[in-house]
Amino acid sequence: MGGFLVRRFGYALLILLGVNLLTFFLFFTVNTPDDMARLNIGGKRVTQEQIDKWKSERGYDRPLYWNRAETGSAQLTRTVLWERSISLLALDFGRSDSARSVDIGHEVRTRMAVSLQLALPLFILQLIVSVAFSLLLVFFRHTRIDFWGVVLCVVMLSISSLFYIIVGQFLFSRVLKLVPISGYAGGLDALRFLMLPVLLSLLSRLGTEARLYRAMFLEEFGKDYVRTARAKGLGEARVLVRHVLRNALIPIITSAGSYLPYVFLGSLVFESFFGIPGLGAFVIEAISGQDFAIVRTMVFLGAVLYIASNVLIDLLYTWVDPRVRLNN
């Protein structure tokens, strides 16, 4: 267990370095800081002084990879790459590029709480509803219920999530006036605002997930232990829940786990559509405002969360399936 964590940590560091290099290359080499400055200051005529001022304010005025003006190790450390990488790895995100220059670390902390309020209940409900629906289909396999259930799944997964949102807002907020169209409030009031996004997000992914889980269940059904369980005289429901469900949990955890980073990062589209001030909405604001510092930070943060959730999934495996050993 300890060895496993150490190894995973080492590999995680390696990957984070790779991600860091990749984003750095994207944001600083494909387009130079001068281009970014010009874009951010805006306007037709931008003088070189303005650009230099903008760069020095944000610490982009050093050489990118290699500082020839310095000697010794300072050649490497007094560069934009080194300074940015070190601060990112220390989870010190600095300030955003835009004129408002918000403290990214502070924003991330406050917004992540909001994102979690939306995404955590959603994640759990999603798992329960999708598994329940696919279990239902599997229980009634080779019948009309299964057939039309799968047809429903295919139709549902062919509809863009944007349609669910627009129709949902129209129906529940405009026609039925049950919940507010968008917005957010803290405390218990949040429930009123979060209900609709949770429901719609649930619906928009039900088709994909239920169909996938159904296939996973059916794959288990072909195995010998199912025949043994039936031979022992167990009822169909008991075989399904006690045997098939438990064995199918491993692929289900893998597939659901790949969605974990978004639990923390928030669903970009849903948060922005419903005006929920979470991390997802933060990213979209940054993209439309062309604030590269925020996008860069979120790319890095996303990678950190992805790796963390992968470790979490591996740990979950040992809990679900005692045969899995992490050490070998």
């Binding site: 390696l14 062919s158 627009i166 159904r214």
Partner: protein, 480 residues
């Protein structure tokens, strides 16, 4: 009247892809095992029907991918020899839709309306009255719209339905004649088609063709004189926008998938074949790529592309070329960020294949590694590539809408379903309610994505024997 062809990046890529598709078709015809698998795919009624729908969408895309600029009438000062071309680029689809394209109103109008949606102050008999203005083109040929509109529309719809029926019946008869020529005669073949006893599910195909013809006939009959799906805020025909959006969806769906293939296949086969440090390096590469949430990586790349296009205005002549270059780069970005899944699959399959006897035999005969990979391993991973490609297609079309909403999709000047939904969002919450652009985008997108999904399922079932077990089917006879 002269014209000059305009070769856009995506046009060239699309035609290259169509050529590759034709080449693959020839190859399938020559190889018995591929022919068997594809004929199995098309024996699935849903796959055949959705294949027909996809072919229709592909036809529209092809029409919309031949661009040209007209020559302008030369003024005397320019001299007779100099040719000046219009800055406005048109496609063959624009020619076909010339009439509805020219029917531009001033603002919103409901589907098939003769009057605008929003009341305006109009001068009548010297007094100012506030009423719905008459549309400039929609139903403009009618003298007294309330009285004549019903009859006029009924005759046009009737004619359209009749044409649709004629086409369907004609095709059905031709098919029955063709099938029955060998033995049982046309009538017998027709009975087989109706009873679904034919080798291929012709009944499903004819039903699909019939439905499309019955929808398209009246639409085409009405299109020249009415706005069948209404007009948007700037008075443009919504139906035309939806038709033009098909190309965008198709380009994103297909080119972005094709762009994933080279890195995925090459790196996957190399990693699986050589193992060792090559494998480690490739695995590291795709783990790094997948560890960044996809949307964020795409957003980052697209932002960079935007800056790049702003600083390199010499790469394009017209606005259309700029938008097109952006779309082309978006496809490349989607490809470069999306190859990890397929690469993982190909690597796994190659690891399995390289231990098999035929590969070992090839090595023992002294076949070079490059040749072993190209001749012995590559053909055996192609089914994975094919399945992933068709499955990706529909996902990417849905993805385009989300990316455009976020602001990192296609250019706002390009017609796309994402753009239509984006505008519809405000219209659906405004007053008066404008539902038709939303409904049009929904209908067209659902038809395209559903067809792509059903087709993908058929192909997967035919090429992956494992997937067939998951197909929902009714047991016709109970097991004893």
């Amino acid at each position: 009247m002269g014209f000059q062809f305009v070769f856009l990046w995506t046009d060239l890529a699309l035609w290259a892809m169509f050529a590759a598709l034709a080449g693959y078709g020839l190859r399938v015809a020559r190889r018995p095992h591929l022919r068997a698998a594809w004929s199995k795919a098309f024996r699935d009624p849903a796959a055949l029907a959705s294949g027909a729908v996809l072919a229709l969408f592909m036809f529209v895309t092809a029409l919309d991918s031949v661009h040209f600029r007209r020559v302008l009438a030369a003024t005397p000062e320019q001299g007779a020899n100099a040719a000046y071309y219009d800055t406005h680029t048109e496609s063959l689809l624009d020619l076909a839709l010339a009439r509805p394209l020219a029917m531009r109103e001033s603002s919103y109008s409901e589907p098939l309306a003769t009057h605008g949606l929003i009341k305006q102050n109009l001068e009548r008999d010297g007094a100012s009255v506030r009423e719905h203005p008459r549309l400039a083109h929609g139903g403009a040929h009618l003298g007294d719209p309330p009285a004549q509109r019903g009859v006029d529309m009924a005759t046009r719809v009737g004619a359209g339905v009749l044409a649709g029926l004629l086409i369907t019946v004609g095709l059905s008869l031709a098919l029955a004649w063709r099938l029955g020529r060998r033995n049982q005669g046309t009538a017998g073949a027709w009975r087989d088609i109706v009873g679904a006893r034919t080798r291929y599910p012709w009944r499903a195909l004819l039903l699909t063709v019939g439905t499309v013809a019955l929808l398209a006939g009246p639409t085409m009959a009405l299109m020249g004189h009415y706005h069948v799906l209404g007009t948007d805020r700037t008075g443009n025909d919504v139906l035309v926008q939806a038709l033009k959006s098909i190309r965008t969806a198709f380009v994103i769906g297909s080119l972005a998938t094709v762009a994933t293939l080279p890195p995925a296949i090459v790196l996957g086969v190399l990693a699986g074949y050589y193992k060792g440090w090559v494998d480690e390096a490739v695995q590291y590469l795709y783990t790094t790529l997948t560890s960044v949430p996809n949307v964020l990586l795409i957003a980052a790349c697209v932002l960079m592309v935007q800056v790049f296009l702003d600083t390199h205005p010499d790469l394009f002549e017209t606005g259309l070329e700029r938008a097109d270059l952006k779309m082309f780069l978006l496809c490349l970005i989607l490809g470069l960020t999306g190859w990890a899944t397929l690469c993982r699959l190909v690597r796994g399959e190659t690891l399995k294949l390289r231990e098999l006897e035929f590969v070992q035999a090839a090595e023992a005969f002294g076949v070079s590694p490059a040749r072993t990979m190209a001749r012995h391993i590559l053909p055996n991973v192609m089914h994975l590539v094919l399945i992933t490609t068709v499955l990706n297609f529909s996902d990417l079309i849905l993805y385009e809408a989300v990316l455009t909403y976020i602001g990192v999709g296609v250019d706002p000047s390009t017609n796309s379903f994402g753009g239509m939904i984006n505008l519809a969002r405000n219209e659906m919450s405004g007053d008066p309610l404008v539902w038709w652009s939303f409904a049009a985008a929904f209908g067209f997108m659902l038809a395209l994505v559903l067809a792509a999904n059903l087709f993908a399922d058929g192909v997967r079932d035919a090429f992956d024997p494992r997937a067939r077990a998951f197909r929902p089917r009714l047991l016709t006879h109970r097991l004893p």
